[in-house]
């Protein structure tokens, strides 16, 4: 399987990948503190975007409630740490199954009862909103007052407890993003990947060919939810505070899907590229407005929104398909 990982990729793409990996691995050596925190955000969105992409980009199921899985992962790991002193890596064994189970329940209900298309998207929003209001009244995890992880001055980074400076989180997320990238590539090359794309293109036809569409759609939701919950765990330990109003917010779900859509739905580079472009854009706008001296709340979001509209109007398939077309980075024709 590993041997086939690079099948059909032109040499220039491989070179590009190697270069990116090298830059990624060495970035903390020359990037300043500010840039490093921006990179952490970029990697976070690249990773969750990749996870969301499995559902939408591969299997064609539009989820607008991925904040649910981030939130479940974040709250489970954080609550275990705060209440029982259980570290995040052990906490994963609870956080990931809980999020996967939530995904399975939503998927089961939706696919059994034939809730599809826009209705499926709204169902996912409904569950995320349900969780938001529910957690707002859930005393054990702090309800609407929030859940706080104890913060001390750390003299050294502790990978086991995920306590430390942005460099630690940068590497954790870098490994996660690379693993997600490679994992998704393997999935796409596997039987399951072909089944997913068959379902995405024409579900009726896929079923007629004997594909158990219910099973493979379930698989997509569960894998996506499980992957997303890991990002939630990192989120909790990076920010050290969680509020239902913030973590489960629909705005959070929207932010998760912006990067893969702008970068290119269904492509492997799309989520990563989208995260770089969007986070880069947001940071650039902040800087420009600072320099120009515009201090209006909302000004940045207006420009951000306009850029978003321009991109989606000009490049309906996203940036990556356009780039790879121009520079011939994809070997085989799609």
């Amino acid at each position: 399987m590993i041997a086939h990982l690079f099948d059909g990729l032109p040499r220039r793409t491989l070179l590009l990948l190697a270069l990116l990996l090298l830059i990624g691995l060495t970035a903390p050596l020359y990037a300043g503190d500010y840039l490093l925190t921006v990179l952490v955000v970029i990697l976070y969105f690249a990773y969750v975007g990749q996870a969301w992409n499995i559902m939408m980009g591969f299997a064609g199921q539009l989820s607008l409630g991925h904040a649910l899985y981030v939130g479940l992962g974040a709250y489970t790991a954080a609550a275990l740490y705060v209440h029982f002193g259980i570290g995040p890596w052990i906490g994963l064994f609870a956080a990931v199954p809980i999020a996967a189970l939530a995904g399975a329940v939503i998927g089961f209900l939706a696919f059994r009862f034939r809730v599809g298309g826009v209705y499926f998207a709204i169902l996912t929003i409904a569950f995320a909103e349900f969780a938001r209001v529910g957690f707002d009244h859930f005393g054990w995890i702090g309800a609407s007052a929030g859940l706080f992880l104890p913060v001390k001055q750390f003299t050294h980074n502790n990978l086991w407890l995920l306590r430390g400076n942005p460099t630690l989180f940068y590497y954790v997320l870098l490994v996660a993003t690379v693993a997600a990238f490679v994992g998704c590539r393997m999935l796409l090359q596997s039987r399951v990947g072909y089944f997913w794309r068959a379902i995405r293109e024409d579900e009726e036809a896929a079923r007629a060919l004997g594909i158990n569409t219910f099973r493979y759609k379930m698989l997509a939701v569960v894998i996506s939810a499980a992957m997303t919950s890991f990002a939630g765990v990192v989120f909790a330990f990076y920010y050290n505070n969680l509020f239902p109003e913030q973590v489960f917010n629909i705005g959070q779900s929207i932010e998760i899907i912006l990067a893969p859509i702008v970068g290119g739905v269904g492509t492997l580079f799309g989520p990563i590229l989208g995260a770089f472009v969007l986070t880069g854009l947001a940071e650039t706008l902040t800087r420009i407005l600072e320099v120009v001296g515009v201090d209006l709340p909302g000004a940045k979001q207006v420009f951000y929104g306009i850029c978003l509209l321009l991109v989606i109007m000009a490049l309906p398939d996203g940036i990556w398909p356009w780039l790879s077309e121009r520079f011939k980075l994809t070997g085989r024709p799609k």
């Binding site: 009862f113 409904a126 209001v133 909302g298 979001q301 207006v302 951000y304 978003l308």
Partner: protein
């Protein structure tokens, strides 16, 4: 608690629900014809609400009088938006449309934030604290007027769609896109008209909602979600369904706020949404299609 409290809260919920229903009707009409889900519906309503705020502070007109000009302004906004921006997206996949409207919503709510600031605003009318008493039941005048306005506007829209040539033409587009093109209907124009009408509904709803609630620039997404819940509960694409869904959700939220915790009330409407999606996905009034 005496029974009359429940009754008062229930009636208040139903009346507010009718206005919610009119807001959702706009979403339903747009989806039913143009097949685009307006994910910036709530944000567009806040635009109407701020138009009312501006007109009110300038001329001190009663919001009920402003209903027509605000609806007309929103109609023009919707017409231009559909023709200029949204129309190229009607054949694109849902996630692409979603992103477009999220982008529009983001721009709208932040422009409002820049212009009007983050504080809640409302209109103070002379009859803000008036009420009618029928036996043990006390009805707020503002809610009553708002609900009557909602019914009038919804009825007018229904008559338009059922009995005018233009309304019939729009329904033809909704039923059979290709057929409408074949018989020579200007579908692009009709789609823009429909989007305009949808926003006129939401404009009227926003005007009357301002009699009951404050407005802030960030309140849009909550109303968008509320409109989704109502429309799916009532039946996406069904006109009576939107009003019935509105009444049901308005009543549920009011009762949940009274019996449980006001901040948990939206949980009940989402629970209704989930149940409807699972057991009657076409909605209460919707027709089942393949």
């Amino acid at each position: 608690m005496p029974l009359s409290i429940y009754l008062n809260v229930a009636i208040g919920g139903i009346l507010t629900g009718l206005v919610y229903g009119l807001m959702a009707l706009g979403l339903s009409v747009i989806f039913g014809v143009v097949r685009v889900v307006n994910f910036a519906h709530g944000e567009m309503m806040t635009v109407a609400m701020y138009i009312v705020i501006v007109l009110f502070s300038a001329f001190h007109l009663d919001p009920l009088v402003m209903l027509v000009p605000v609806a007309a302004a929103m109609f023009c906004f919707g017409y231009v938006l559909q023709k200029g921006v949204i129309n190229p997206f009607i054949t694109r996949p849902e996630h692409s449309q979603f992103l477009l409207l999220v982008g529009i919503g983001l721009v709208i709510s932040n422009v409002l934030l820049i212009v009007f600031g983050p504080d809640a605003q409302n209109v103070q009318v002379g009859y803000a604290f008036d009420s009618y008493q029928i036996g043990p039941v006390i009805i707020d005048a503002t809610k009553l007027y708002a609900a009557i306005g909602a019914i009038v506007v919804a009825s007018a829209l229904y008559v338009f769609f059922q009995y005018t040539r233009l309304g019939t033409a729009i329904r033809a587009c909704a039923d059979n896109y290709t057929g409408a093109l074949v018989v020579g209907l200007d579908v692009k124009h009709l789609y823009a008209l429909t989007f305009g009408l949808g926003l006129a509904c939401v404009g009227a709803a926003g005007t009357m909602l301002l009699l009951i609630f404050d407005v802030t620039p960030s309140v849009g997404p909550a109303y968008t979600l509320l409109a989704f819940v109502i429309v799916i509960t009532g039946g996406l694409g069904s006109m009576p369904g939107a009003l019935i869904g509105g009444v049901l959700i308005g009543l549920t939220e009011a009762m949940a706020g009274l019996l449980f915790n006001p901040s948990a009330k939206s949980m009940f409407s989402f629970a209704i949404l989930v149940l409807v999606l699972l057991f009657r996905p076409q909605g209460i009034m919707g027709k089942r299609t393949a």
